[in-house]
Structure formats: C-alpha cells, structure tokens
C-alpha cells in the first residue's frame, strides 16, 4: 500500500513540475538556442537558458526527427546521410535508439511529444525507484519519499534535465541497486533479470558518460559492500558472493546492451582521435575546491548562466558540474553522520566522498582514468551525479534520525554545516570579489538572499517544528521549493513554434540542392531540413574523415566545422564532396574559393553562395593511383588537387587493373537514395570505378547487377566499386554485421537468463 501511495505522490509531483508545460503546450527543449547561433533572425520568444544546453537542439532533436520519421515507416535508422557525408548514427553511443520507451513513444507520437513523455516517465521513475530502494532498506515511508524527491530534483538532475540522458540513467541507478540488494537477500534470478535490464537500459540512455558512471557507481557500491561484510561479519564467502552477484548482473547487462555496445565499439576503434585524454574541469587548486564546495550551500554564489558574473569559466561552468542537492537535504545528510553508528551510512559516506574527489580531479580521478576504459574522455566533474545519489540517500537517513537524535547532537551537526557554509561562502566571496558586481552581496540579490531564507527555514524546521506534526511536511515542502525552483528556472518550457524553421532562405536551399551537399550551416541542423551536409557535431567520427576535412583541428573540440572562410585548400574538397551551396549567416564571401567559381544566389538575412564545377555525387572514373592514407591526404590538401584527374585508392584493386593514360570521367545516375540503400544506374564505356561521394564505413555492402562486390576506400573517405564496361545497376546496402552480432548476443543473454529463471523456479 505504501508503495502505491509513494508512487502516486511522486507521480503527482512530476505532474506538477510538468503542468506549466502541459497547459501551455510547451516543450522542455531549449529551442531558443537556434537564435544564438546566428542561424535565423531572432524570433519573438525572448527566453534564454544556459548556453551550455546546445546539445539537445544541435544533436538530439535533429537526430530524433530522423529517427521518428523512419520509425513510423518501420525502419530503425542506423545511417544518417545528412551529416559528415554520411554517418553511422546508431553507433555514436548516445543515440539511445533502442531504448524501449523511446521506441514506443517515437513510434506513436511526434518527436516533441515523444520527448516530453519520455522525460515525464523517467523523472517519475527516478523518484519512484529511489523510493522503492529506500523502502527495501527499511526506511520509513516519509524518509523514502523524501529520498526520492531529493534524487529526482537534485541540482545535477535538474541542470541536465533537458539532455534526457541524466534522468534516464538516474532512473536506472536506484533500480539497479534495488535489484542487486533484492538478489542478495532473496537469491531469485528474477532480480538478476531486473538488474541486468536496468544495467542495459543505462547503456541505452543517451550518453556513454552517465552510463560509465552507473557502471563505476555499481562497482564501487558492491566493492564497498563486500569490504564492509568482511569487516562486520568476518565472512569472506559472503563478500565473494556479493562480488559474484555484481559480476553476474553486469555480465547479463552487457549482453543485453550488446546491440548498442558492439556497433559503438566499431566506431570507437575508427575514432581514435577522440580517445585522447581530456581534462575538462580544472578547479584551480584549493580556491576552486572551496568555490565548488560553497556552491553546495549557495548554488549561484559566483553567478549562474542566467545571471552571469565576470568570473569567467567559473561562472558558467560551475553550474554545469552541479552538486547542489537542496539546503535542507544537505543539513540532513550531515546530520545522518551523527547519532547511532551504522555501516550503511559509512558505506554511503565513502561512496559520496569517492565521487566528490573524482569530480575534483584528484588522484582518484586519475586512478579511474588508468583503470576504466574510456574514462579519460569523460567530464570528471559530472561524477557529481554519483555524489548526489549518495548524498540523497544520506539525507533520507538524516530525516529518519531526526526524531531520535538528542538536542546536543542536532545543534552540533546544524552548526557544523552552517559554519562550513558560512566559511566556504565567505572565502569564495573574497577570492572572486574582483569579478563580482558591486551589488552582489545584498539581500536584494535573490541568488544571495534565497539561501539565507532557506537556512532560516531549516533552523525553524529543526528546532521549532521538530516535535510538531508539520515537521515532515515542512522538510518536504522547503526542499521542493528549493530544488524544484532550481529545476524550474533551468528548464523553462519553450513554445513548440520555435521548432518551425520555415524561412525563405531554407526554401532556396531545399529547392535547389537535390542530392548535392551544403557547407556553412550550423552542424546537424541540416538533418531538420533534409539537406546533405559535409559537417556535423558528434562525439565520435572516423579519423580519416576528421583528418582530411579538419587538418588543423582545435585541440579539445570534438566538432567539425569545415571552415570554408579560412581553409586555403578547401575548394577541391568541396568539389569532390559535391558541395554546391555555401551558407553564410554573416554574409561573408568565401575568400579561398576562386571568385569566378562562386555566385551569390540569395542575399537577405543570410547569404547563400552557389559553387560552380562541383563533381556529381556518383561518377565513373578510370584513372587511379594507389596511395596510403597519409600520402592521399597530403595530395588532397594541396590547392591544385583536381579530383577528376585520377582516383585515389587506399589499397590495390583485387583484379589486375592498370591505370590507363586516357582519362574517362562521367556522371552516374542515382535513382534511389535513402539512408540504408543507394541505387545507381551507370553506363561504363571502359573498365572503371564507380565512386559514390558518401563516407566509407564498415557495414556497407555493394551489389553490381545483383552480384556482391568489394567496396574500396576512395580518396581516403569515399566508397568506390570496380565495374566493367556496359550498363549496370549498382546497389549499396547498409547492413552492419556489428549490429547483427549485438542482436545475437542480446538474444543469447535473454535466453540464458530465462533458462536460469525457470531452473530457479523449479
């Protein structure tokens, strides 16, 4: 009964959070960011959130529109032809295309509605699974409910809410721990299944970053639990069982996540450029540590993305690495450390501290970087995800203790937290005084006055309402007013109208491009207009494409912008890739493209230029030279490079072909072009190669007149096939074996689990 009551109450709170959006038919998606990208003339809605929230509109929403469109046709999209001259979208590790809720909602609704339903369900699940987990640990109803609320509305969850991935992984973390605990106590394979599903679903959530944190959190939890069992019961066997249970859930979880993991590994193998160690968060010594610590008491102490200060990176990025969990929950979490000693509290204290230290770029961070594959690319500051989880549980534990603890200990813990807050905030003010506005420390500044009022409310709650029936209600109300408000200001719903991009210049492009490509448009927005772009914005993409198109890359930025306005050797590459149009929001004329080859075809809010002499998307060519990748790149980056002179093959052809002197170059006709299939008709007058100017990638197969042939890597990045003289129908099909292997492993895992469950029941 308690569980139903708790679920319904948390559902009601989620509904309250979504109510303004539902009533006004708005959406939690920062579509206003398009206005900041110099993309359109600004629209009338003058709302800005944080500029750090670009990814949901630049990556996820365009991806969703494509996914949604093809899902409705019964196709699970794996290849995206609109970015990077073709891109294995499914394998990017953050598509989340196989997430069951996303599959169902996108099949039934439009992308924006599907997004809202997904967010709603996951936020609800965050609270509910935390509530169930705490109930399983024998917490009272009110403390479990409080723990659920703290977790679902904590600063980290709310700051990243519009990214979907944090709530998706956040919902699975308590479910995983709950299943694990249940398996340890009840030894039923049902819980292995449930735990494996939760583990796998964290992979299907929208980012490898949080997925890895779930894995690391799970590992740390089981290790700490095993160590405590040895300490408490001196029972080594029991602790081995604990580790074994962790391994078995992880094993089955990985099997169930294989359809995503195997294709992603394939792309990772080709994208070594993105695997170099990156340090994202430099707290800047003790000052940085103290500043971060003070944001746990006063989240806007040195500004927020909405009310910025001059504190440079500290101002905006500190909000991104959010560890605030509400002032009253923080007081209660500290309170939980006093009074009756418990191994459970000790476990979660260590758990929280480990991830706080991970977020602060300490030796623990480097230890994870050395031992966990892929951790070196993660934003270590986001480990505060696990800190928030641990502190959420400690705060529920503090609420549980509140009635039983004696006055002295209560006063001591309260004063300890209070002075820690005062101390860190004062030092932070002193450190950053130079960059803070003169009127910053003032009660008229709500960033400053709200934490003060919340502290007064906390003291009234703890000391005046302590024995009153209002105690629990006031704790929950003040927490909701605190973190719920933080969530609200971070995620102001936006009018769906902003997703309407119809404009004169997009129509110009849409009507004229056909299969030709464009450059200069904000990466990934091309998906929305079904325009084929050579650019894109993704966390992984093959080195051969990156190095050719981005020869002088910015050191830490994993996003391609083929700068047609500054790259001297860009023109031949634009011709080769079939880029017929250049979009210029600042109306600049592309300087390194010969003047006689460019024509301005639109001049309004933006300028659009048309390039002459662009190669067709599919062509036949007979002369070829064999060059390795490095030689080929060097040749192609020369200004005098003429692609139609000869084809660059990265490996010798299987048949004994000789590159003849007389040049043969002709356009081939693309008769069908869809994401997973390209059909071309060609009339070859001589032995030659057909080149399709789409990205070369494993998983593509080619059939010439129905017979399977080998695909060659042409010009380092494109696909080519050898054809003999005569009329031919050439069919390129994308059917990745990595995905099939993944599905096979998924089915094997599921089958094995079901057998184990049946055996367990018998």
């Amino acid at each position: 009964m308690d569980k139903i009551k708790g679920t319904l109450l948390l559902g009601l709170l989620t509904l309250l959070f979504f109510l303004p959006a539902f009533i006004s038919k708005k959406v939690f998606l920062p579509l206003y960011i398009y206005d900041q990208g110099l993309f359109y003339p600004p629209k009338k809605e003058k709302k800005f959130h944080s500029i750090i929230k670009g990814d949901p509109v630049l990556i996820f929403y365009p991806e969703d529109t494509l996914y949604n469109e093809w899902l409705k046709k019964g196709v699970l999209i794996k290849w995206n032809p609109y970015i990077f001259s073709g891109y294995p979208q499914f394998a990017n590790g953050q598509s989340g295309f196989l997430h069951p809720i996303r599959l169902l909602t996108h099949f039934l609704f439009d992308p924006l509605t599907a997004r809202m339903i997904g967010l709603f369900l996951h936020l609800w699940m965050c609270g509910t699974f935390m509530f169930f987990y705490l109930k399983a640990l024998n917490f009272s109803f009110s403390s479990s409910l409080f723990g659920g609320i703290v977790w679902m509305f904590c600063g980290h969850m709310m700051t990243w809410f519009e990214y979907e991935r944090t709530v998706e992984a956040g919902a699975m973390l308590p479910l995983l721990f709950l299943s694990y605990e249940n398996y340890l106590s009840k030894r039923s394979y049902l819980y292995i299944l449930l735990g494996s599903v939760a583990f796998a679903l964290s992979f299907y959530s929208r980012n490898i970053n949080w997925t890895l944190y779930v894995c690391i959190g799970f590992f740390t939890y089981s290790l700490l639990r095993a160590m405590l069992t040895i300490k408490e019961k001196k029972d080594v066997k029991e602790s081995i069982k604990i580790i074994y249970s962790f391994l078995i859930i992880s094993f089955f979880g990985l099997l169930l996540a294989s359809p995503l993991i195997i294709p992603t590994l394939e792309l990772i193998k080709l994208s070594t450029n993105f695997l170099r160690t990156a340090r994202h968060f430099h707290p800047g010594g003790w000052e940085g540590w103290l500043t971060l610590f003070s944001t746990f008491f006063m989240p806007g102490i040195i500004g927020t993305p909405f009310m910025p200060t001059d504190c440079d990176i500290m101002g905006s990025r500190f909000f991104e690495i959010q560890g605030y969990m509400g002032l009253i929950p923080l007081y209660l979490a500290i309170l939980s450390l006093f009074g009756e000693k418990s191994n459970f509290i000790f476990l979660y204290l260590i758990f929280s501290l480990i991830f706080l230290l991970t977020a602060l770029s300490t030796p623990i961070t480097f230890l994870f970087q050395l031992t966990v594959p892929g951790f070196n690319r993660l934003h270590e500051g986001r480990a505060l995800f696990l800190w928030s989880f641990g502190m959420g549980i400690l705060s529920a534990s503090g609420m549980e203790k509140l009635n039983g603890i004696d006055n002295k200990k209560l006063l001591f813990s309260f004063l300890l937290t209070f002075f820690a807050g005062i101390f860190s905030c004062t030092i932070t003010f002193i450190i950053h005084k130079k960059c803070l506005p003169s009127s910053w420390i003032s009660l008229s500044n709500p960033l400053f006055s709200l934490p003060v009022i919340l502290t007064i409310s906390a003291s009234i709650t703890f000391f005046i309402l302590r024995k009153h029936t209002l105690l629990k209600i006031s704790i929950i109300t003040f927490t909701l007013l605190d973190t719920g408000f933080l969530g609200y200001i971070h995620n102001l719903p936006v009018s769906k109208k902003l997703a309407d991009f119809s404009s004169a210049y997009i129509n110009v492009l849409k009507n004229k491009t056909g299969l030709y490509r464009i450059a200069g448009l904000e990466p990934n927005l091309s998906i929305l207009f079904k325009l084929y772009s050579i650019e894109g914005y993704e966390s992984l993409w093959p080195d051969y494409y990156y190095k050719l198109l981005n020869p002088t890359p910015p050191p830490e930025f994993a996003h391609i912008r083929l700068d047609v306005f500054s790259n001297k050797s860009v023109y031949p590459l634009l011709r080769l890739l079939g880029v017929k149009f250049i979009y210029s929001p600042l109306k600049k004329f592309p300087p390194f493209v010969p003047k006689d080859k460019v024509e301005k075809i639109y001049d309004g809010d933006v300028s659009i230029f048309k390039l002459e002499g662009v190669l067709p998307r599919a062509f036949l060519i007979n002369r070829f030279k064999i060059m390795n990748e490095e030689e080929g790149r060097k040749h192609m980056l020369e200004e005098e490079f003429i692609p139609e002179d000869f084809l660059i093959l990265n490996e010798p052809p299987e048949e004994n072909l000789i590159s003849v002197q007389e040049r043969y170059f002709e356009e081939a006709l693309i008769v069908d072009y869809s994401p997973h299939r390209v059909i071309i008709k060609a009339h070859a007058k001589t032995d030659c190669f057909l080149v399709l100017s789409d990205m070369y990638y494993p998983g593509w197969k080619v059939y010439v007149d129905g017979r399977k042939e080998k695909i060659y890597r042409a010009y380092n990045i494109l696909r080519a096939v050898h054809i003999k003289p005569g009329y031919h129908t050439i069919k390129f099909i994308y059917s990745p074996s990595s995905y099939k292997i993944g599905i096979f492993l998924f089915l094997s895992g599921l089958f094995l689990l079901l057998i184990l469950m049946v055996k367990n029941v018998i």
């Binding site: 206005d35 900041q36 110099l38 600004p42 003058k46 709302k47 800005f48 909405f306 009310m307 200060t309 001059d310 440079d312 130079k434 960059c435 803070l436 506005p437 003169s438 009127s439 709500p446 960033l447 006055s449 709200l450 009022i453 919340l454 007064i456 409310s457 009234i460 709650t461 005046i464 309402l465 009153h468 209002l470 209600i473 006031s474 109300t477 003040f478 007013l481 605190d482 408000f485 200001i489 600042l586 109306k587």
Partner: protein, 211 residues
C-alpha cells in the same frame, strides 16, 4: 487554553512565514531573470546586426531596448556605452559604461572606454583610477591608455617626469602611434629639454615619412 492554542499555532505561522518568504524571493528571482533575458536578447541581436555590417540606427534601436529593462545584461550597457563613445556622446557613454563596469568589473575594454569618457568629461581622478586598475590589476597594456595616462600626469598633475615615462611606454607598445610623440614634444618644450625635443622631433618626422 489560549496559551495552548498559541503554542499550537506558532509553528504553523512559522511554517507559513518561511513558505511565503521563499516564494517572494523566488518570484523576485524570476522577475530579474526575465529582465536580464530580454535585455540579453536585444543585446545579442544588436551584435548580430553589427557583425553583419547593418545600419547603425538599427543597432542603436536594439541597444536602446536592451538597456531599457529594469535589470540589464551588463554587455548591453557596455555595447551602448561604446557606441555613444564612438559618436562623441561622452556623457551618455560615461553613464552606461559606468553601469557596465559595476556589473562586469573585469571587462577591460569597458573600463578603458569608461576611463576615456571620464577624461573627456574632465573627471581626471576617476579616469586615472580606472587606467591604473587596468595596468596594475589586470596587467592590460595598451598604447592608447598609456598616452591618456600621460596626459593626466602632464595636464592635470603637472608631473612631467611621470608623463614622459607614460608617453615613452605608449611609444614602446606602438612605435607608429603619433599622439605620444606630439605629447612628448610638448613636455620637452615646457621643460626646455632641447636635446630630447630634437631627438623625438626627428623620430616623429621619420615615422611620418614611413607612413
């Protein structure tokens, strides 16, 4: 009985008082945020127009809207202030840049133009203070600034030695900048330092020839 009722009612009152205070503060937060958002929107639109080389009147119109909200995005003050400065409207530029610097104390360009505006309005002390902050605290070195500081020393404080030092620094940072040469010549004339006067006159003539 009454005491019991009060005893029971006081915690409820405290609870309600806290709720109302928190809500009041949050409504204020929303209002400020909304103002800043609106101001920021106009200010960014003005930047886009400027980068596109659009008509100045259009840019000014956007900036006027950007600074007209109750709580203003600091960048809007600075943009509008620098626009006024470029037009020679020093009273306005001083007013807006001062607000810009108050809200965005580390913005060096804003402080530099605030100092220049102050000097144009005859507020020597304030202008000098901002220039000193830029040089001493922000380690921001600019020939223009040293030249201006030199003028403060020579025209206001009559400290020709310091002024000479500043003009020389300005020349060191930008040897083709003519103003500090003229200023140095004026000082050498006042102090009757003929040797240096001729030296810098020659230098000035050479630079003019090169140009």
């Amino acid at each position: 009985m009454l005491y019991e009722n009060i005893k029971r009612g006081v915690p409820v009152l405290f609870f309600l008082f806290c709720c109302v205070s928190i809500l009041f503060c949050e409504i204020k937060w929303l209002k400020i945020q909304d103002d800043i958002n609106t101001s920021r929107w106009y200010s960014r639109y003005a930047s886009i127009l400027y980068r596109r080389g659009e008509d100045e009147r259009k840019i000014e119109e956007m900036l006027k809207l950007a600074v007209s909200t109750e709580k203003v995005e600091p960048a809007a003050y600075i943009q509008y202030g620098t626009l006024c400065f470029s037009r020679g409207e020093y009273k306005l530029s001083y007013l807006y840049l001062k607000k810009g610097v108050e809200n965005s104390p580390t913005d060096k360009i804003a402080r530099k133009f605030l100092a220049f505006s102050a000097l144009e309005l005859g507020k020597w002390k304030e202008g000098k203070m901002h220039l000193q902050i830029l040089i001493d605290e922000f380690k921001f070195y600019d020939a223009d600034m040293f030249n201006a500081l030199g003028i403060v020393y020579s025209d206001y404080e009559r400290n020709y030695q310091k002024a000479e030092e500043m003009f020389k620094k300005a020349i060191e940072l930008n040897p083709s900048f003519l103003a500090p040469y003229y200023n140095l010549l004026t000082i050498y004339k006042i102090t009757s330092d003929t040797l240096h006067y001729h030296e810098y006159l020659l230098k000035l003539q050479n630079i003019k020839k090169e140009k």
